[in-house]
Symmetry: D2
């Protein structure tokens, strides 16, 4: 799923310290100026925001890098500045903390129980565990048995997939063990807030350069339960955005309802009302954005991949107005060749072809 | 809770059209250059993000407006540019849509069942219903019986509390009934993403000025299930932020765990693991920010009110790495008099007094 | 030319202090939601950047205000957020300082001597002097005789026409006399860097609201020879610009020179080489921008007025590479309805009509 | 003075075309993570904005690069994001155009005549001419005799030292000769608007990567007399600035004038009034900024070097209010470790040591 470098021991780092990591540079290998964004199949796949909605078929887009910009033959008509960053950056946990993770996550697996679709969590087990070579068998065995999977972010940071941990940003991480044991990886050329599909960022092969320093006792000084950071002053500025709203209802709506006027649009959600659920609200905002992009001629898969990979901004608008959480999703208008703003005459629907996909779902 | 003006009928608007609303101006009454942000008591209160955590006592902050800036004697040391906006803007629903709302929300109330704390939703009932005067009794009665409460945002917009619907923004709303019947209200001088406390924005008395136009058939043209908008080019720019992370675990951590080094910080969460829950992740990021602000000398209530009212930015970072959603919460550093960035020597803890509160919770 | 309010005495202000002025608000009268930008005739006019080049005829554009935006029937196809500001803000000079101004400016008039075209400076004289009413004749006489004209900015601030002294900005002015005697006026709804034409900003009738405070001894504390300021965080953000370069040569170029290929463009400058002259470089950048805008179908007068009134950014790029100063002029692309970026197929030349002008020059 | 790579012939480029150059990357050599900014001695030096004012001694600052940031032991207390860019980018001129350059520049030299100080222009001559090797003697001779010096920018672009031609920007250059013959060089890690000292940018050894394409007939299509460009979306954002004003008067002011209050500050300018001279106005704004920085404890040389190298913004505010041009110079406050904004208690004057300089002026 992702490569990881480390752990790197930082001399002098002790439990309770704050590890300061300056991200100096993140870039693709000079000879690999491309990356990809993918949608997995629901069947046996790791999921994705719309796993059950429309991941019956796998799909992907290959992105070509040209300086700071990414563009794709699979999603024509867009070109945007990347925000290269490591999807993963984290220190090593204490053994007690590791146990806490395993307990709570296996607990969740039990709680949810057997159900179709992607797993809710990945327990420590032999299957699918990849660890460094040259380890004594019993050590490797123990890692398989106790080591937390790196799919999800946790107190130490880890796979948080925060798009703004880009070059020029400074991160402050809690140190749990002697040496901190920093690991970094899962490089992305770009990503949208939320990283909708499981492989939603523009995954790239490249190099991350960073510098570390230590603030003694930083955990207590800064109440550092989890990493904090200061973003880079050179993250791309796209001042104009088209913003979509979503609430915590899986909306079901049929527009022939519209006063009898025949309108060819129907929303086939379940109609279920959720209780202040920002995840559902985000999904709804995304569905609204996808429907809009389809009006511009993009396929649902292209829209799904584009929103995952482009520098979209998703804000938690309000978590106060029971029962509906409200989340917004903003698309920078300047990344499109065509003007995407609403027009009295409607939107220009262009033929953008489609992303890499095979009708039998095998790519 | 909030005042609402309307409904205003827009000539020519028909079901299926898109109502374009240009927010021309939002400002407080000249003779009321102040507003407030409040925390309700848990007991009998409407809730808030941390209702059960620390709303045993009511609290509030009065904000003084000076041109574009807000500051408060109850939360000293900060001054920020407001983003005045209406918390509520929405068209009127079809009767069928109204019924859908009432059904799904009463359904949720049943589903959740009896439980302590704030209500999960507000059903249509006589109690607490405020409607325009001069109405025939049977009409008022019917509104009490069928009219959806305006606390939550829905397909038509409504109380979405989106901080960027400020002057200079343009909104596109779906029209469900003849004339659109636009309502606007709940003016805020400023608000942070998420509006943590129930009365978390800076509530103000003022005037909103807008202009409307119509795009025929806009619902179909733009797949307009819910409002979309283009933010204003004059929303405040605070380029540097200190960002906090949160994941979907109600973290429990005791720092004496930290390799024996005695550290006076413990996180008393339940330790519960949630399944990709962005609401929990937002709450965790908020708790981390509050703990940090306490290191600067702010009380928990002051921090809670400040994060609710100031122009903080909360992004949905990732909803992909099961089981942990990741949400970030960014505080603009320039709104503080003091330098709040982490320093090797630690943070300067100042005495900021406290917000308006009484130990018996009665304000 | 412009209205001025003041002088306002600030209690406690003494020579050597710094007068802090917070611009709280600048807005047009509610019942006068419009302004204008003008080009004067060369004959008897006050000048303008291109007085001798193409001000044979007077012209003007009326701008309609709609919330934060300005648009004009005289310059169709553009709409931009204003940066309302006072063109003039200044303290009163010492009498010695006043004498210095009069001496150096009358000196310049002598130095330049008789020449056609607009005056290089305006000496204190009876002609064209407007002063407050209800003054004893000898006082008025003396003001006519000694009072500096308010056309130009000076050490005290004055008519500097800095577009970013908008609401939310804070100015620090040197105090020369007891009470500071602050004057403010010449309100603009918007202006481009440089204010090309003499009446180049969008002149409006309105109200400016400000607050003052004093920093004792600020002149010495801050080496305050002239005003300094901190711009507002809500000045409009237009991230994408099309930028034109200019150097200190009044370029003369004939494009049939272009390798024999017949090209219908010739630059009829004098060909004169100036010595590191940023004013000439600015004019050249402006001429390049005007020529470009003409390719979009705007008349030379429309382009001249637009660049004067819209939020264009002009930077002093380099004053080091003898003999050519380099100045850039950037036009925000988002203020145009059409896409103005260079395209392989060329620019779309639209009929934008023309601004208010009469062939006999009398408007 | 600067290295130059090229000329590079672009296949298909013909006179009258527009050469589109995408700046893909600009970075220092990995093994040379440093650069320098210098002040030349007046004696025999090439000048600089304040050559005659305070360049009696040479001075310099070495800048260390750390990812996107630059800092210097010679100017402590500041750290800023660079905007790496080529100071020079230009196509080759026609022979007629070359002659025009030589005529007008030698004409200026004659016009100015013998005077002390740096040369006003550099005529084509054997002295100081550096050309590619392996050329027949007569060719090299002719280049010495006719080739324009690359010190100054001209119609073709050249050494314009525009700080925003950074990675991600797109330039449109006029093509004068077959193949365009593009030259690029003089790499800077960072530069302030104006590049005050002759060697004012952070000169670095590095690599620039670009891509070219051609727009046929672009010169006519875009009225392309000189290059135009679209800046990069990732240029650093420093939203808060402290801005200084300057007007076209070499101000002379003695503060004992200040109502008798004894103030230890006097401005020893000549008092000369210039006629709408933006170069003088820029110099005055710079002098005001330097005086302010001295109050923070920086030496005049440190301030001079800092303003030359850091991302300062200089705007042409107004060229309309005869006789005083107004130019502003803005310093981003976030690049300083200390808070540099004016405070009631005055500025904290720290000991920042001094830059590399020897009292005898020999470095």
């Amino acid at each position: 799923m992702h490569y990881l470098s480390g752990p790197v021991a930082v001399e002098g780092a002790e439990p309770g310290d704050c590890l300061v990591v300056d991200i100096l540079d993140v870039q693709p290998y000079e000879n690999i100026p491309w990356g990809y964004t993918g949608i997995f199949e629901l069947e046996g796949g790791p999921g994705g925001l719309f796993a059950t909605e429309f991941q019956t078929h796998a799909a992907k887009a290959i992105w070509d890098f040209e300086g700071i910009y990414a563009s794709s033959l699979h999603i024509p008509g867009v070109r945007f500045a990347g925000i290269p960053h490591p999807g993963i950056i984290g220190t090593a946990p204490l053994h007690e903390l590791l146990q806490t993770w395993n307990q709570r996550e296996t607990g969740l697996i039990k709680e949810v129980g057997e159900k179709p679709g992607p797993p809710v969590a990945s327990p420590p087990e032999h299957k699918g565990a990849y660890v460094g070579q040259d380890l004594p068998d019993e050590v490797r065995e123990r890692i398989h048995r106790e080591g937390a999977r790196t799919i999800s972010g946790r107190e130490h940071g880890g796979n948080c997939d925060i798009k703004n941990l880009s070059k020029g940003s400074r991160c402050y991480l809690p140190v749990f063990v002697k040496g901190a044991n920093l690991s970094v990886g899962d490089l992305h050329f770009s990503q949208g807030d939320g990283e909708m599909t499981f492989c939603g960022a523009i995954e790239m092969a490249g190099i991350v350069t960073f510098k570390t320093s230590i603030i003694k006792g930083g955990v207590e000084k800064f109440a550092l339960k989890q990493p904090i950071f200061v973003p880079s002053p050179i993250d791309p500025v796209y001042s104009q955005q088209l913003v979509f709203e979503g609430i915590s209802v899986d909306i079901r709506m049929h527009l022939h309802h519209f006063g009898g006027s025949v309108i060819n649009l129907s929303i086939d959600g379940t109609g279920k009302q959720y209780n202040m659920d920002a995840t559902v609200a985000y999904k709804q905002a995304a569905l609204n954005a996808i429907a809009y992009l389809q009006k511009l001629g993009y396929t649902r898969q292209q829209a799904y991949l584009l929103l995952s990979a482009a520098p979209i901004e998703s804000h938690v608008a309000a978590l106060v107005d029971s029962p509906n959480a409200c989340v917004t999703l903003g698309i920078p208008t300047a990344i499109f060749e065509q003007d995407i703003l609403p027009k009295p005459e409607g939107l220009e629907k262009k033929d953008h072809g489609q992303c890499a996909i095979r009708s039998d779902g095998v790519v």
